[in-house]
Symmetry: C2
């Protein structure tokens, strides 16, 4: 396979120099550069003459010499762990828009696991990327070390803290505890947890949930490993309820799993939510707010996670992890309550 598509027939591939543009526009070469750099002050008249000359000569500003000189490209790699989960795409939306405001371009990386992240970042470094923001948690110490060795600053979301890894997280443990309080205060005594596969966020949510249940001397919840998708949540709820057990409160690792569970509970078993079973999700993806699911969940503040990531990446030295409090969003899958619930 060719590394990249061939040029279209007749497209100008030899690029006119800024000097040629300057000559044609009758200005200095530095003026041409000013016209093509953000926020530089140039009179409207001069700008127009330069742009006209540039268009005539098919001139395109060239970032590469500066990148070679400084080793900095104005490109950041943003990593997502799949597009199936609106959590990732919403984060991508927020980060890309923040980076654009700073005139930084986003190079997209989609990978289902962090295992090969060091190789991917290694490859991207040929473009002298300035940093990496990963919505995918880094779990492997080996990868964390290699990324650190690459000398490219890395920010990871909901990730365990390794060495110089910069992390921005939602307070997943407090949210888990809050979910336990919410269900227990709502009258639930037979709890269940639909878990995700191994990840820091999943572990923290589970820990907080289990500890608070134990502190409140309620029987430990049933535990089914679902995953992170709608289908896996549907299957897990099917397994749970087919086993004859009948929990009255279920906390799910994320909204997709919760919405899958809701459909199984209502459609497969004809049970009422929240009448027979109360359900709580995590993320507050757009579908959680749809009238169908109408899911009680925890809102992950994407703007804060994204801003935290961009801010940490810009800092000269790795600084303390940023932790963002989750916000409980009460909807129709838990019993209505007037009391404000706080961690």
């Amino acid at each position: 396979m060719s590394r990249s598509p061939p040029p279209p027939a007749g497209a100008p591939r030899a690029h006119a120099s800024s000097t040629a543009v300057a000559r044609l526009a009758g200005v200095s070469q530095s003026t041409v550069s000013r016209v093509f750099s953000a926020g530089a002050a140039v009179s409207a008249d001069v700008r127009e003459r330069v742009l006209k000359a540039a268009a005539e000569l098919h001139y395109k500003p060239n970032a590469l010499p500066a990148i070679l000189q400084t080793g900095r490209s104005g490109i950041v790699a943003v990593v997502v762990g799949g597009f199936y989960n609106p959590f990732f795409t919403e984060f991508l939306r927020c980060v890309t828009s923040l980076l654009r405001e700073r005139r930084i371009e986003t190079m997209l990386v989609d990978t289902s696991s962090d295992d090969n992240l060091d190789d991917i970042v290694g490859e991207l470094s040929r473009y002298r990327i300035d940093g990496v923001i990963s919505a995918l948690a880094i779990r492997s110490t080996r990868v964390a070390r290699k990324l650190e060795g690459a000398g490219i600053p890395i920010v990871a979301v909901n990730s365990k803290k390794f060495g110089n890894l910069r992390t921005v997280s939602t307070d997943n443990r407090s949210a888990g505890a809050l979910a336990a309080d919410l269900l227990i205060d709502g009258g639930c005594r037979t709890l269940a947890y639909l878990a995700g596969r191994e990840s820091t966020a999943q572990t923290e949510r589970q820990r907080g949930f289990l500890k608070r249940i134990n502190d409140r001397q309620v029987a430990p919840p049933q535990h089914v490993v679902a995953g992170f998708s709608y289908e896996e949540g549907y299957a897990a709820a099917l397994e749970l309820l087919s086993s004859g057990s009948r929990p009255d409160g279920i906390f799910c690792v994320n909204d997709l799993v919760a919405i899958g569970a809701l459909d199984a509970i209502r459609i497969e078993f004809g049970l009422s939510v929240p009448g027979d079973i109360q359900v709580v999700g995590f993320d507050d993806i757009p579908m959680a707010g749809w009238r169908g699911p109408d899911l009680t969940t925890f809102h992950q503040d994407m703007d804060a996670l994204a801003l935290g990531s961009v801010t940490l990446l810009a800092e000269a030295a790795p600084s303390r992890p940023i932790v963002i409090p989750p916000r409980l969003v009460l909807r129709g899958t838990t019993r209505p309550r007037d009391v404000a619930v706080t961690p």
Copy 2:
């Protein structure tokens, strides 16, 4: 705002040269380049020595000199029109994965309208991007002309054909006609169409729907402009049914609008689907297959749209538009039927 984040403290910003790596590994400099270029044949032993030396010296392969020489970067800009619609994110997933297989990197552009696409592409050209794939249709002739003038090959999905613009589309008009047949054959006589805002796809789906209804001598459908989001579909159905009219078949411009309409029909008006009203969507986003909505819709073949885009981009000269047939997916929002329906 700084153009890019500052380097992290102590990170090696001065990059070791491939010559230094060659010296340390005891091989020629061309061997070093071969080790770091895809598919080049190098003995395992030599590769290992080179990689070891590279790691020791923090050497990073550098794409920039080659880009300066050839004017080609191995970077393609992929444009989406927002992340709210899984149509865009699913397309992004397919295209990014196809590009990676070809060792081409994706530079992400998110813009709600094509009006400023020429400016964005102009900016990205400073990185000598090799092409643009836009999931967002190009509507403005001005923009299409300017993009053409930029000498960068552009492929747009579901877009009107302008000049040299390369287009890959689903056969939206046939799908609209198919939707009319499906509803009429299912016994509907009072039809409605929930439209999107102005776009080629929207216009084509509507044209096909209206023409077939007229051909079959059924009364013209009611027409409400919704938009493209769940909330807009919900509001449009609310408006439609509150007006006292009671259509028995509704075709929606996309799945998000259809799912919003379904929730309004079932929850706000307590009507049964497909009993009282049959509903057909478009796109076959994952949520359309959820047990809740269980939406009959048209599947847009993302793999084919993505492959078509990457293929057209790689062609030397603009070629004929690629048109991909939609596939009808029968689910629970239309009456069951055994007859196979074909365009």
